[in-house]
């Protein structure tokens, strides 16, 4: 083992033999490939014909046929375009609102901590423990009363609420990393709160904000329960569109696979790109 290898890896196995280390590497590969198998299988199925998909064969070759099938909806059903636009609007707007609410809140919890900041942070997190079914019926009743059923607005309103606690939690941990001296210097110069945020704090926490936003996007994009209860027909989002591809008549496996790939791809690519930062934000929260 070289020095750098000893520093990077080998925490548990500082003095282990080379063959053991190589064997564990191979084991990691096997485990990784097995874990991803259902995904790989689905991607493969999405390129098959329906007959091949049902029979698990490859007689008719692979192609993009199923992807073009699912992008042309039959009249009267939810189209990919509608669902995609609904999801996009709901996810982007709700995430922007979450950031607008969470950034000042994180400031008050981390940079100039208010009295009893810990209780307030706990309150934010505790709202995540409330089962959403416990409040879905009143929400349904009032959404109906105020003509919000089937609109994007109702999902925006609810997705802000489900993501806000996690966003405050993560953002606080990123704000904790801003050196106090910088803020004190800005205060001595008489900079007001808005300018302090803009010119001193935001440049430092920008990567953290990006990671937080990404996690909000993932949860909002994948949300199914509220969308199912409060939004149907033309207000439906991507998870509901995927389900419309399950058919009780005829073969649908290949089409369903193609729909799954399209529905998940944006979030999977974003998650791959930001994996390290995302997890740092999650684990740093309590573990400075």
């Amino acid at each position: 083992m070289t020095d750098s290898e000893q520093r990077r890896g080998g925490k548990l196995g500082v003095g282990e033999r080379r063959s053991v280390v190589a064997g564990l590497g191979v084991l990691a590969w096997i485990v990784g490939l097995l874990w991803i198998f259902p995904v790989a299988w689905t991607v493969l199925t999405s390129f098959k014909t329906e007959e091949d998909a049902s029979a698990q064969t490859f007689h008719q070759g692979l192609g993009f046929g199923r992807y073009s099938d699912i992008s042309h909806a039959t009249a009267g059903t939810l189209s990919l375009q509608t669902a995609f636009m609904n999801s996009l609007v709901v996810v982007v707007v709700s995430t922007l609102f979450v950031l607008a609410l969470a950034i000042p809140a994180a400031y008050a919890l981390a940079i100039r901590p208010i009295h009893k900041w810990r209780d307030v942070l706990f309150f934010f997190i505790s709202t995540k423990f409330l089962p959403i079914v416990a409040s879905i019926f009143p929400i349904y009743v009032y959404a109906q009363k105020w003509n919000l059923l089937g609109t994007r607005s109702v999902l925006v309103i609810l997705y802000i609420a489900i993501n806000l606690p996690l966003a405050v939690w993560m953002m606080r941990s990123f704000f904790m990393e801003v050196p106090r001296e910088l803020i004190e210097a800005a205060e001595i110069d008489g900079t007001n709160l808005f300018n302090q945020l803009r010119s001193v704090i935001l440049p430092i926490v920008a990567p953290g904000i990006a990671a937080t936003a990404l996690l909000c996007v993932i949860f909002a994009w994948n949300e199914y329960f509220y969308a199912l209860q409060l939004n149907f027909a033309n207000g439906s989002t991507m998870p509901q569109w995927v389900i419309t591809n399950v058919s009780t008549r005829g073969n649908f496996l290949a089409k369903l696979s193609a729909a799954s790939v399209i529905a998940c791809l944006p979030v999977v690519l974003a998650g791959w790109a930001a994996q390290k930062r995302m997890i740092r934000g999650l684990s740093m929260g309590a573990l400075k």
Binding site: E5, Q6, G9, K11, L12, V14, G15, V21, G25, A28, W29, G32, W35, I36, P38, W41, T45, Q56, L101, A108, R112, P113, I114, R118, F123, F124, I125, S126, T127, F129, L130, P131, V133, A134, S135, F137, I139, I160, A161, I218, W221, N222, Y224, F225, Q229, P239, V242, I243, V246, L253, L256, S260, C264, G271, Q275, L282, S283, A286, L287, K288
Partner: protein
């Protein structure tokens, strides 16, 4: 960080004066706080009110009853409802199994990934993918392509090995749903534990190694205590989401013995087809009381994390 020191050092301002420094400091927090109270707490208060009525969907019965107060009837009913008891048991089983298994497997994966090997980054990227998938899609993949007795890969493999095929979802609903949950949440746990492993000071480990401690001994004596806080955090965040599992159940079984958890049962009793809003609200309130009890314990864990942070 030393928040308490800062609290003491800065004047708190006179109470009642809206422009005092204490209120100016609280101001940035208020929009987020008020928003959450309005959207998450107010509907809950309305639920409490409903839980004392016999509210039903009028369009669902031929002779609609007038809505009236029924006192604690709905709550009394809970104790004689064996379906609810079954749902509670399913919830407990599902959550405990899914959180424990994903924590254990996630820790093993993290240990494997903590050492340098060819393609380390690739494997980590592949492993986190299930966590990024829509829960609906994850459930569909497993239902239609893995567990299915017609098109399922698992039964193909079983057949190839000479075993009888298994009707996974209908015969083992809890196990099937837990499998999907574990598949999705293991990567999440792995990433948190990995962050813990990589934050371990390597000089201590090297010193232990020089002193001749065995690999297993180092892990038990040094690594595991260091990981405790990360394991707790993973269990906490995981159970918040897993206890509310809805998507996988709706997609895979649509409820039934062994797969209806409490959230799904409350859903079935109200807008999911039962339309007994008053009774369903009472169930929901009982669930919330349980959640508060569990949350109190969980927050105590969190609180200890923060105390450690302050000491550090």
């Amino acid at each position: 960080m030393n928040a308490t020191a800062a609290d003491v050092a800065l004047p708190k301002g006179k109470a009642g004066d809206p422009f005092s420094s204490a209120w100016r400091r609280r101001l940035p927090l208020l929009p987020a706080l008020l928003y959450l109270v309005a959207i998450t707490q107010l509907p809950f208060v309305v639920s409490i009110y409903y839980s004392f009525t016999n509210l039903k969907d009028k369009t669902q019965s031929l002779i609609p009853e007038p809505t009236k107060f029924v006192g604690i009837d709905n709550y009394r009913q809970i104790f004689s409802d064996s379906f609810f008891r079954q749902a509670v048991w399913t919830s407990v089983k599902m959550t405990v199994l899914a959180v424990l298994l994903s924590l254990i497997i996630g820790t093993l994966f993290a240990i494997l990934l903590d050492r340098k090997f060819l393609g380390q980054g690739v494997i980590r990227t592949l492993l986190i993918t299930p966590f990024l998938l829509m829960p609906v899609v994850a459930a569909l993949i497993w239902k239609q392509q893995m567990f299915s007795s017609l098109f399922g890969v698992l039964n193909k493999v079983l057949g190839f090995l000479g075993f009888n095929s298994i009707a996974f979802i209908s015969d083992h609903p809890t196990g099937s749903i837990v499998t999907v949950l574990v598949w999705q949440w293991t990567p999440f746990m792995m990433l948190i534990i990995l962050a813990g492993l990589q934050s371990q000071p390597s000089d201590v480990l090297e010193a232990a190694n020089v002193d001749g401690a065995s690999a297993l001994g180092i892990f038990r004596q040094l690594t595991l205590p260091h990981l405790r806080r990360y394991l707790e955090l993973g269990a906490l965040l995981g159970s918040i989401y897993i206890v509310q599992a809805f998507d996988a159940i709706d997609v895979m079984t649509g409820g039934g013995p062994g797969s209806t958890n409490v959230p799904y049962y409350v859903y079935q009793e109200s807008i999911g087809g039962g339309f007994r809003y008053g009774a369903a609200s009472a169930y929901a309130i009982v669930v919330v009381i349980f959640a508060i009890i569990i949350a109190t314990f969980a927050l105590r864990v969190l609180s200890s994390l923060f105390r450690d942070e302050e000491r550090a």
